[in-house]
Amino acid sequence: MWNYEKRLQYPVKITQTNPKIAQIIITQFGGPDGELAASMRYLAQRYTMPYNEVTGTLTDIGTEELAHLEMICAIVHQLTRNLTPEEIEKYGFDKYYVDHTLALWPQAASGAPWTATYFQSKGDPITDLHEDMAAEQKARTTYDNILRLVKDPEICDPIRFLRKREIVHYQRFGESLRIVQEHLDSKNFYAINPEFDIRQTCDCPQHK
């Protein structure tokens, strides 16, 4: 289960609206390499993960991604709050506005809706951790691309924080992959799939 904490992981205080940049940044909410897909990917993959270090990593990074999703939504909200119909037209926000007014909805910068096909949960730890490492790098590139377009320091500051977290998560998933491989046959990592070929047994004292 989860408890809500009534604060952002890193502060977002944007004083100037900018609906044009909001339409770019929203891709990190509902786009292919965004925070929603990241969180769902890790939280979905953890149930069949047989190693505690890796299950913990998927759980805690999947949870942190929810906090990042909240920061992205706060940024988009603060960039679009109190817009007038004139501003909506002038900055090309009309196509989003007609369907969602000023509410948040998970979509890519292109307007494509969020979909579960943005991630995989394959049930093989080597495969899933390679996907997770790639996902962190793709999100890092997206933040780098955003930073080339954004000039407002009030927007850049939280985006830089999020970019740095992608690098830390990549590191932790790399360590997770090493831990998985240490459990496997060093002459052939692919001899078995430990999420399928090793049957999980219950260690609880009452079942011994």
Binding site: K6, L8, Q9, Y10, P11, E53, C73, E175, S176
Partner: protein, 89 residues
Amino acid sequence: MSECPCRKELLNQINEASFAVDDVKLYLNTHPWDDEALVYFQEYSRIRNEALKEYAKHYGPLTIDTASLSCEEQWDWIDAPWPWQEGGC
């Protein structure tokens, strides 16, 4: 009652200590034998919990576990601004 601490300073302290906890928690998951990291976790976890309690007493709760410290007379979980709003955390 103790002197009212500055809201901004207290919030900074919560954010910094919470970040230290978030970061070292991920490190400890893949390095559970690292005693130095464990001591670091314990120190910042203590700072975070104390600051959250102090904040709740003066400015309302940020977590449900500290809500009982400030809402003895009335339910105040919904009173302070939400994090994305002006004046939010």
